[in-house]
Amino acid sequence: MQDNTSDNLYTKVILNGLWRQNPALRLLIGMCPPLAVTTGVRPALTMGLSVIFVLSCSNLVVSLIRPFLRPHVRIIVFTITIATFVTICDLLLKAYLPAMSEVLGPYVPLIIVNCLIIFRAEACASKSPVLLSVIDALGMGGGFTVALLILASIREVLATGCWAGWQVMPKAFVPWLAMQMPVGAFVTLGLLLGLIAMVSGSKEARHG
């Protein structure tokens, strides 16, 4: 059954990030953006792409220097690497998307302490070859982005009747403003996690 061709390995790594170990929905790490910036689809997408950018760059650099890493200085090396790319990402947003940068506010600099990124540096990039690390970053970052988009879609449609700014609900729809508040984030996330646990639970039950 074990298929070790590289193509298959990469597909597995991608799927691992998107579903089996989805950082936001399965592992529940880096939960600050999923709760804070999912009021709208656009900020969620920007945040997701920023995380993909930072994660790919930091995985790339960490994987490149992994032969020289020493256990006692690895955390500080990870941290300065991540902080550098987050700063670049923040500068990029400020320069080209100033309005979005205003909306996201402190949550872009906060990617520095998002545990998803240091987790992948520690668990994957410091032990894996460059290509695998980058593909892992794309999978994990993609899974994170998908989770943000699901949460943001539910919240934005219920709170404003729009999806990414386009009216999708009928005119008679009464906006459910609570969904835009922090309570909306917690309720949506809780229900979503419950749903996922139910789906994966029944799957396991069938196989077991």
Binding site: R70, V77, I88, L91, L92
Partner: protein, 276 residues
């Protein structure tokens, strides 16, 4: 012996140190490059305005804090003068930075409490033992007989960030040395007793009552209430009596013989001086 161990340790630490230096140096160069190419020019006036503001973040201007007010006032200079803690001095400096004529008033704004009933002047129908908050007490007649006067439970005291309003014998009393005119007390008072008044002079005449009950009822409940007799309005036209209550029209405020007469003739001595 110890020295040899130390040198051994140092040699082991060297690769790690070099790695750290290498990574740090390379990333610093990358950051420098990013900063050079992606820098956004900010209007230096935003920072200059922010430096002039009092940094209290009190929200009196209607913005979340001094930095958001700085941005807003740069975009729209007509907003100069909204900073009441800063007062006329700050308004003038903002106008200088933005090279416009100062739009704000040149007089400070201060809080005025329209009640002068201390505990001994008031009448109580019951004994209020509920939550010690004016918002709660305001809904119950047991808190105090007068429906319009100061309840004395200190919502305004708790709202004040400048320690400028205190409960003195059951009456909210403004400390004019400290009041900055941010209006937090006026917003929180459930009875709307506190008015923000532009102080043209250091002492201002104030009708210290808010009771719209008829004269007989007011007199029965409070020793310090305005009975709406209208004697003051006969002496000076800055007094306007309506709903059994005399009010000073501060847009026409002045201090002259007529207003002194009005103060002297007021039968319940409800027209008083406020300020310092």
């Amino acid at each position: 012996m110890i020295c040899a161990t130390f040198i051994g340790d140092l040699q082991a630490a060297l690769p790690a140190g070099l790695l750290l230096l290498g990574v740090g140096g390379t990333l610093a160069v990358a950051l420098l490059f990013a900063h050079q190419t992606l820098r956004v020019e900010q209007d230096p006036r935003v920072e200059a305005i922010y430096q002039v503001l009092p940094h209290l973040d009190c929200g009196a201007c209607g913005y979340a804090g001094c930095s958001s007010y700085a941005k807003a006032v740069l975009a729209d200079p007509t907003l100069i003068g909204r900073c009441s803690p800063g007062g006329p001095a700050v308004a003038q400096r903002l106008a200088a930075i933005l090279s416009v004529e100062s739009a704000g008033s040149s007089h400070p704004i201060r809080a005025v409490v329209h009640c002068n009933a201390h505990t001994m002047d008031k009448t109580y129908y019951g004994n209020y033992e509920g939550i010690a908050s004016c918002i709660a007490g305001n809904t119950l007649t047991s808190a105090q007989a007068c429906r319009f006067g100061c309840l004395g439970m200190g919502d305004c005291v708790r709202a004040c960030r400048f320690d400028a309003i205190h409960m003195v014998d059951g009456l909210a009393t403004v400390d004019y040395q400290r009041c900055t005119g941010c209006g937090a007390c006026a917003k929180v008072c459930p009875r709307g007793i506190i008015e923000m008044v532009t102080f043209q002079q250091s002492m201002m005449m104030v009708v210290a009552c808010n009771s719209k009950e008829d004269g007989r009822t007011t007199r029965a409940m409070c020793k310090a209430g305005c009975i709406g007799c209208g004697l003051c309005a006969k002496q000076s036209d800055i007094f306007v009596v309506s709903d059994n209550l005399s009010k000073i029209d501060y847009s026409h405020y002045r201090h002259d013989e007529g207003t002194d007469q009005a103060m002297a003739k007021c039968p319940t001595k409800v027209i008083i001086w406020r300020g310092c």
